[in-house]
Structure formats: structure tokens, C-alpha cells
């Protein structure tokens, strides 16, 4: 049992708090380039994800876990398909609570 390397729940706005640390977020892919994927975060900000691309077939929402490189980019380690019926507003509220009042339950 170990809690020394958690991955923080972030949305676009919270990403800047964890630069250099492991984060996880859910994005909707809006475009891709060689070696990077551009996604829309649950609070409608743009996030660029570099590193290994997710393997198709892709669903609408994808979770990416990786290291935050700047206030709008992540270096991906793991991708997970989160389906097409995922609710981004709920996830957004979860991010806010997990970094606010209930931070001690997560980090």
C-alpha cells in the first residue's frame, strides 16, 4: 500500500498547479498532429497531449494520465477510453472538489 505518487484529478484550469507532477484528466479529442493530440478539457480549455498516441478505436472521451509539462500540456503515459456517454460536467465538479475542500482524501 503506497500513496507516494498519486495522480491529481485536474481540468484545464487546475493543470497549472501540478506542473512536473503526475496528473489525470478527461479530454475530448478535437485534433491530432504527429506526436501530439489536441483535446478539449472538461472546462472547455485546450490541452495538448504529447507522447504515445492512443490506439484506435477511440471513444468520444479519453482519460489521459501523465506528467503535466506546462499549464496546458501533458506528457502522456496511459490512455483509457472513457466511452461516449461520459458526463464531463460531473467530472469537472469532481476535479474542483478533489482539489479544494476534499483534497486530503486524494493527495
Amino acid at each position: 500500500m503506497d500513496t507516494s505518487s498519486p495522480s491529481a484529478f485536474v481540468n484545464g484550469a487546475l493543470l497549472r498547479r501540478y506542473i512536473g507532477q503526475k496528473v489525470r484528466t478527461v479530454i475530448q479529442v478535437i485534433g491530432s498532429d504527429t506526436g501530439s493530440v489536441v483535446g478539449k478539457s472538461t472546462d472547455d480549455l485546450q490541452i495538448v497531449v504529447r507522447g504515445p498516441s492512443p490506439t484506435p478505436p477511440l471513444t468520444t472521451y479519453l482519460e489521459v494520465i501523465g506528467i503535466a509539462e506546462s499549464d496546458n500540456s501533458i506528457r502522456a503515459e496511459t490512455w483509457t477510453n472513457f466511452g461516449n456517454t461520459f458526463d464531463p460536467q460531473n467530472y469537472n465538479e469532481l476535479c474542483k472538489l478533489a482539489n479544494g475542500e476534499f483534497k486530503h482524501l486524494f493527495i
Binding site: R24, G83, T85, L94, F102
Partner: protein, 284 residues
Amino acid sequence: MYGGEFDGNAAFAGGGFMPSQATTQANDSSASLKNRDVRTLLPLTLKQLSGASTNGESNFSVDGVDINTVAIVGRISRMENRITQVDFVVDDGTGWVDCVRWCQERQETEEMEAVKLGMYVRLHGHVKSFQGKRSVNVFSIRPVTDFNEIVHHFTECMYVHMYNTKLRGGSVAHGGSTTQATATPRPQMPYSTIPTSAKPYQTGPSNQFSNQINDPMHGVKQTVMNYLNQPMHLVSEAGVHCDIIARDLRIPPLQVRQAIEQLSSDGCVYSTVDDTCFKSTLNA
């Protein structure tokens, strides 16, 4: 809840010729109520689990609630299948924990075959500690198919945490005791109308009074008591005729008689003029 908990001691005590410890305890409703009270199912983040306080090797508690069964949702980051057991590591983003799933029944093996490395899963299990290291003994596990479940699980963890810390703050510690909501304490009334206290968040059935489980007359007795405890009946010296009670409450006279007999032997009412008129013992 099927937890696969085979209590060997209880099953084999007495060689099957005598009632075992477990059956005699089951008849004692207050003891079984206490067992039911202690069986909690808590959704937790692994951060909460690692921070759980402990008194002794296998007693853990979080936010003042004893941990019995935990619910965890996370990714399988490592997995080793050893035929009779599967060792795996679950990572929920707040931490990771070693888990073990014993597979002796066919159903258990099939359940584990549906679970693969890298998958998000929901598991239920018991927390174990060995040489200071905590692990989870899993008895139920399934893959997550709708990922809103992940958001739901963490939201539930936050809710339960808030419930157990803020709402229970100030009431007596161990679940099952009453808090006095009114200014005048009435400790002698087993059928009182004092509202039940906030109990620790748990998903099992819970009862305030042990008598309720085996007592079909409880509702009628409660109604009769509430009637007799009204101020105008408390002050009247002659009491109330039980036919009048039956008429006012629209309960069959026979049921009222039965209720009053039981209440009388419990010391909650007494007969006044003759054995048809009764008064509550409250303030008597």
C-alpha cells in the same frame, strides 16, 4: 451480502449435535443487532485507507467508523495469476494497494477471468494488515463499463466522509445510541417518539430498538403510548377506557387490549379505576 465468510468455528462447534454458538447468538436479537451495526461498507479512496487509524492488527477505522468491508474503484496496474489465487495491484489515482483474490469456486475463477491488466474495476473486500503492510482481501470484483462510475465512486467517498465527520459530530460515538433531541430527557421510555440519531453511513438495514425486529405489536403499542402520553390524558386521574382508545385510534379493541397487556407488563401503563381504564406511567 454474500461475502463468502464461512465461520468454521460456528459450523463445527459441538460436532453438530448441540446448537452451536452462532445459532444461540442469533436468537439474541440485541447481539445480532450489534453485529449488523458493525458491518459497514465504506467507499474509500486508497489515500483514506492508508490513513485509517488502527487499534491492533485487524481493527481499522476511518472518520470514527469501524471498517468492515471497503469498496474501491481503480485500475489494475499489476496482476499475477497463481491458479488458486490472483495477486494484483489496484491504483485509484490516490495510491495503490496489494490485493488478493482467492479462487476456489468456479464462480470465483470466472469472475477473475473477466478482469484484465489495465482495466478499471470495482472491488469489495476486507482490509488486512501483516507486519504493518495493508492489503485487501477481495471477495467481489467486476470491470467498470460505464466510466461515470469512477466519478460516482469518488463523489460517494467525499459524501460519506462528510457525513461521518460533520453530521455525526456531537452525537455519541458508537452507532446505535440515541441523541436527546428534546430538552427534557426521557431515558426510561423504550417506545419513545424521540427521533433516531444520525447513524454512521452504512448500507445495511439498521434499527434503533432491538425489540422492533421480533415484535409485531410494536406499531400498535407505539400508537397507544403516543395517545396516552397526550397532556390531557396524562393529567386525568381516571385514565382512559381501552374501548375509547380503540375507537379514537381506529384500532380493533382486541389489538388494543393485547398492546395494553404488553405495555402494562413492561411498566409503561397501569390500570386505574378497574382493569379496563389505563394511564401512562410517564410522570406518574
